[in-house]
Each structure stands twice: as C-alpha cells, then as structure tokens.
C-alpha cells in the first residue's frame, strides 16, 4: 500500500498556489494540508495524483480569526486547534464540542477543518457543522475569490463544486449571539465515521417559543443538509414532546438516505429519527 509517484510542489504563498493550480489545470492535482484523508486514499491508490501541492508552508493559511461577525478558519487550522473554546463565541463552543467526536487524538493533531470540507465525506462532522451553521467557503483561483454557501458546496459523496483550479483558503462561519445547541451521532465504534448525525442550534423567546432553528442531518444522505421543512414546522412553536416527534417524522419522510451493501437506507432513516428525538429532548 505504497502511494504512486507524484510531482511535489511546495508554494509559500497563496498566489503561488493558485498559479500552480492554473498551470496544472488539466492534471490530476491534489492539495495536501493535514493529509489524514488524502494519504490513506493514496495508500490504497484510490487517488493517484500526478501532482501534489503541499500548502503547509503558506503562513496566511494558518490563521484562526475572530472577526466581528464571523469566525474565519484558515485552510491549515487543525481539528485540535478548534478543541479549545473558553470564553469565545457560541460557534467556537459548538466547534469545540464537535471536534472531540472526530476520529481519534493523533488524527486531530494533523487533520484540518478545511481539508474535511474539501474532502466532502457525507459523514464528516465538519461538513454537517458548516452546512447547519450557514458557513461560506472561500474558494480562490488565479483570478477570483468567491464565497460559496455550504448548502451549495457539497454536491454528492466526496464531491464538491470547486473548480479544478480553485483552492479553499478558509471557511467563514457566522457568529451566533444566543442559542442552545446539541450534536448527536451514531457510529459502530467510538471515533468511526458516523452512520447518522444531527446538529441542532436553536433559540427560544421568553415564552419558550422557537425563534431560531437550524437543524442539520449528516451521514444519512449523500451530503449534509438543513431540513427546512422541519425548521419551518418548529418555528414559533413551543418545544414539546409532540413537536419533537412531528419534526422527527417529517424529517424521516423527507430524507433520501444512502444505501449500500452493508447499511440500508431504512436503517439510516431510523437512526436519524432516533437521534433527532434524542437531540430535541436534550435541547428542551
């Protein structure tokens, strides 16, 4: 399981990186950040890039910035870097909580947030977080910078809508003033890719009516998704057991789960249903 050969490029600025991408546009190019997803694929030779661009020397990409209205997570920010939250904004707390669910300790020291986003694994916790929290993915090429909403970014299993000459330089997540939040996932073993996950961020008014709700499901469909129908159902309502079940039932009907030789669509659907009940109960 030795990787195939590749040409190595080690740009030291974003400009150099995007120029390279432009030059190599018709080659099979991959970006190397943490490598925790890419290197195993190369070991299996499922990925055999002709060219590898190692971005680890680009200092600008290491920043984790606390801006006025959003958190800016640079392409080289590791999972472990997001584990600390302390007095930060709620989004940082949510990310910190989620980070402990990702794989295992030695993966978290190397793997990157943006790397997970680019990898677009349907079970990825960060992909679910990005989608549920309305993140914007900053994609840059030689000529332009664009900000892609997460809901448009993940287009299928391991597929995103980046162009061949684009690199993710950061992901921005809008800050949140006030909210309750809960994350639940189910996997066969601790640290495995989940078979279903749910992230709910909600806020209630003084009468306990829901005034904000983001409800995202991951691991079930080919990409994570906020379930708008459920959110609409719950807006303005008081959280009750009945509402929990109604929302869970609606979501279960709405989902189009993946199915493969080891895990059925129905099982994933049932898992999602169960996790939503559990999550909503906790947020109550």
């Amino acid at each position: 399981m030795k990787p195939a050969s590749f040409n190595l490029h080690r740009p030291s600025t974003i400009k150099d990186a995007v120029n390279l991408l432009s030059e190599l546009a018709d080659k099979d190019v991959r970006i190397l950040a943490g490598g925790q997803s890419l290197v195993p694929m190369m070991a299996f030779r499922l990925a055999q890039p002709t060219d590898l661009i190692d971005i680890s020397h680009i200092r600008d990409l290491t920043n984790l910035r606390d801006e006025k209205n959003y958190i800016d997570i640079g392409a080289l920010v590791r999972h472990a870097d997001l584990a600390l939250a302390s007095d930060r904004d709620i989004v940082r707390h949510i990310l910190s909580m989620i980070s402990h669910h990702i794989a295992h300790h030695p993966i978290r020291t190397r793997g990157t947030f943006c790397g997970s986003i680019a990898h677009a694994d349907p079970s990825s916790e960060w992909c679910l977080a990005a989608t549920t929290l309305d993140a914007l993915i900053t994609a840059q090429n030689k000529h332009t910078i664009r900000h892609i909403p997460a809901k448009d970014f993940f287009t299928g299993i391991m597929t995103n809508n980046l162009n061949a000459d684009e690199i993710i330089t950061s992901v921005r997540i809008p800050k949140i003033d006030k909210a309750r939040y809960v994350f639940k996932e189910f996997s066969r073993r601790k640290g495995d890719f989940c078979l279903a996950s749910v992230l709910i961020v909600a806020d209630v008014d003084e009468h306990q009516r829901i005034i904000k709700i983001h409800l995202g499901i991951g691991g079930v469909e080919t990409a994570p998704r906020r379930i708008k129908g459920a959110e609409t159902l719950m807006m303005g309502q008081k959280l009750s057991a009945d509402l929990c079940y109604a929302a869970a039932d609606l979501i279960a009907r709405d989902l189009d789960p993946m199915s493969d030789k080891t895990t059925s669509a129905d099982y994933r659907r049932d898992l999602a249903h169960g996790l939503i009940i559990e999550a909503l109960r906790e947020i109550l």
Partner: protein
Amino acid sequence: MKIPVHFNLNGRDFKMNVEPRKTLADVIREDCGYTGTHLGCEHGICGACTIIVNNQTVRSCLMFAFQADNAVIETVEGLSDEQSLHPLQKAFVSHHGLQCGFCTSGFLMLASGAFRDRDYVSDDEITDVLSSNLCRCTGYENIVKAVRHWLLDERKINAEHK
C-alpha cells in the same frame, strides 16, 4: 526525483534524499534504521506507527517524510537509554501490558505524547486517547492499568481514580 529531507530523530540529525512519496514511517524504519515503529495497516487506523513530531502525537504512515522536514521527531527507541527503561515502559512490563509487542511502540508513544503537556487527565480522556489504537492480543485491560500506573506516578491522576 528524490528530494532532500532533514530532521532530528531521537536526538540525532538525519539528512537524506528520498522520493516525495516515501512515508515518514518507511523513512524512519529503512533510511534511519529505527524499526521500533511498526506498520499495522498503512492507512492510519491501527496506530501501531504512532510517533511524536514537533511535540504532537501523529500517525507516521499518514505523513510523507518531506512533511517532517526540519522537525524534531521522537520514536519509541528514544524513550529509554541503554541502562534503564522509561517509567511508562516499566509500567507496561510490570502490568503485562504487552503480549506480542507489535502494537506496543504505538501505545507507548500515544500515551507519552498525548499526556505530556497535561497537568491532569480525566478518566474519559484516558479512555478517549487509548481508544485511538488497536491491540489484538491483550484486550486493552493491562494497557490501561500500565498507563494509569504511570499517570499516578506522574501525579496526573489521583489514586482514588476509578
């Protein structure tokens, strides 16, 4: 096309020319001659290849050697000197924390790396960290006992801990 890579490994400087695709694990084992780091899966799940790079616990099969350029690397051979064993290694021996020994280097580096900068470690964290690696022989029981014994000596947990 080989490229130059240089790093400090267990206190010694190494300079060599390797293919970009050669993994750090392979370079440590073959080019540097330290075979204590083992390859159990080569896809980053079993943890037998765990080492410490720039004070971070990492899986060496998931790094290319060039990614460790200018790094400070520690592997299991650096834990002890000719004379005596590191306290963590002693604990593994006294608690029968190894049988075939293949996963042992990985667990030793995982524990010594993950807990090194911590003043205090909770039970959950011990479980969380030690769940990173696979062992097929011991059933983990004695690995946990050995690590707890060491943490107790280091005063990072109390005796009343579970």
